[in-house]
Symmetry: C2
Subunit: 315 residues, 2 copies
């Protein structure tokens, strides 16, 4: 049995996974608030809980973390988990549990899970694009996960798309994430509402300021014209970054993951349509397959668990 | 013995390579003008020439081609070799010579050569960036070449960097290549000269219209202030695209290749300096190593030859 965690800004969620069948046998979660040692204690507690109530022997543990997860098991940068930065969470958890531990970026883990057990099965060249608060990505090339020299591969949300564009909270001008994350979708809805162009958004959310991407998706699903136009523009921005990624990697399939995939078919269809327009040389290459993730919120936990079998710390 | 060809818009150059030592034993070249069967006849002739005058047995042949080289051995797209598009040059050469043939993008081949025998030796995560008329790129991840699903990986010159930017000859707005190729450097020099800001350029080239990137490099090497400022701006544009690639791939080293590397240290130093400024999270990650290619104009021929050992058509 293996354990996977997804440590986000709010919660640390854990699963017990049967490595042979890929079945999720048990789940648990805790708040992820607090400094490194506090999180460590909660992880140790959850490992014990998953192990004991399933009478399992734990072979290894994977930690998927939102941020730059160095392969040594230290998080180098994480806007969502500032207190965890530079704390050796991987080695400490290894010491505390006696199990091999792998620390990996959450989207990278998600890519691996979708490749092995989800919407990317059987595809050797795969791009996983998680649309949430930001954009996380992970890639499979030649059937292998691209980790990069430090384990930092897949920070594509920070790719510059519009060099003269607005400044993102990272300080960069015009990164992909600014235009194509869930945060961006909400902003587009609020801007339209503030300009009087999206009254249904105000009705659904209660006020302009409370409009999020989900209100936009809800309005779009009701056939609201303003929402449909904004959502189409959003899908174009998502596809624009994906086109860049396909140019670099020539992926055969793109798996859309993250919170925004609850929108479902309209998101897939919109991105697919725009990718055909925006990808240079589209007439001379096979159409890239755009699909929705299958593992939902479990992708990062499952992927981290699976990676722990293949990628021990320092390995 | 293996043979590698680099088929560009003007010439097809061939080498005979000792696969064990990596030594280039002989060279030949012909014009690459003409339709597929014409080029095929010249390639067959060169294979015979390299084989016979060295009394060699040829194990395999690699063709590096500027364009979208499909792994089936057909060139799908090539602005520089329009008559070759959709002609099955790989299978035909295989049939005519009786040797296994591999067809591969020239920059992808260059990346492999630099990784195996040049400036990328010993590095498992490598980006090769060839700056010439356009920008060609090739990548190594986990020690393996990234070919992509069709062999089309590494078309990064077409990544959009400035979504509202000028339209490139590909029809795209603001791709990296528009700002950071040798063509771009020449244009920057001509624009400055036309505005009266680069008199030395006019002196060196004879007229504004004749200024190329090499005049700019020459003026820069003489300490000309205008040229230095333009060249610095150019290095920033090169680094901007490389920063995007590092975000995607977390490469440990960047090898700068292509015709512009004759500029030497100023190019390396300028790109290195700007990459440190432009790569997000630079303070939290090891500095990316920026180096000049070592194999010069031979990179693509050597890489194509080496790839022919590992990647037979349809393999």
């Amino acid at each position: 049995m293996i354990i996977g965690f997804d440590v986000g800004g709010t919660n640390a969620r854990g699963i017990l996974l049967d490595a042979n069948s890929g079945a999720v046998l048990d789940r648990t979660s805790r708040s992820s608030a607090g400094a490194g040692p506090v999180l460590l204690a909660k992880l140790v507690e959850m490992v014990g809980e998953l192990r004991d109530r399933n009478s399992s022997v734990i072979d290894s543990i994977g930690l998927g973390i939102a941020g730059l997860a160095h392969q040594s098991g230290v998080v180098r940068y994480s806007p969502n988990l500032p207190e965890l930065v530079e704390y050796p969470i991987g080695p400490e958890l290894e010491q505390a549990t006696g199990c091999p531990v792998t620390v990996i970026n959450d989207a990278t883990a998600g890519a691996w899970a979708e490749a092995k057990l989800g919407a990317g099965r059987g595809v050797d060249d795969l791009a996983f694009v998680a649309l949430g608060t930001g954009i996380g990505t992970g890639f499979i090339a030649n059937g292998a996960l691209i980790l990069g020299a430090n384990g930092f591969a897949g920070e594509s949300g920070h790719m510059v798309i519009d060099v003269d564009g607005p400044t993102h909270h990272t300080g960069q001008a015009g990164p992909w994430e600014y235009f194509a994350s869930g945060t961006a979708l909400g902003r587009m809805g609020r801007e339209a509402a503030a300009a009087g162009r999206f009254p249904l958004g105000v009705t659904l959310a209660g006020s302009v300021d409370d409009i999020t991407g989900f209100h936009l998706a809800e309005a779009e699903s009701r056939g609201d014209e303003a929402a449909t136009a904004i959502f189409d523009e959003f899908c174009r921005e998502v596809a624009r970054g994906i086109a860049n990624l396909i140019l670099v990697l020539d992926s055969e399939r793109v798996v859309l993951g993250g919170g925004l995939t609850t929108i479902g078919a309209p998101l897939r269809d919109g991105v697919d349509r725009w990718l055909r327009v925006l990808l240079p040389g589209q007439a001379r290459r096979p159409v890239v397959d755009v699909v929705l993730a299958e593992l939902g919120a479990d992708a990062s936990t499952i992927g981290a668990a699976l990676m722990s079998l293949d990628l021990p710390l320092g390995g």
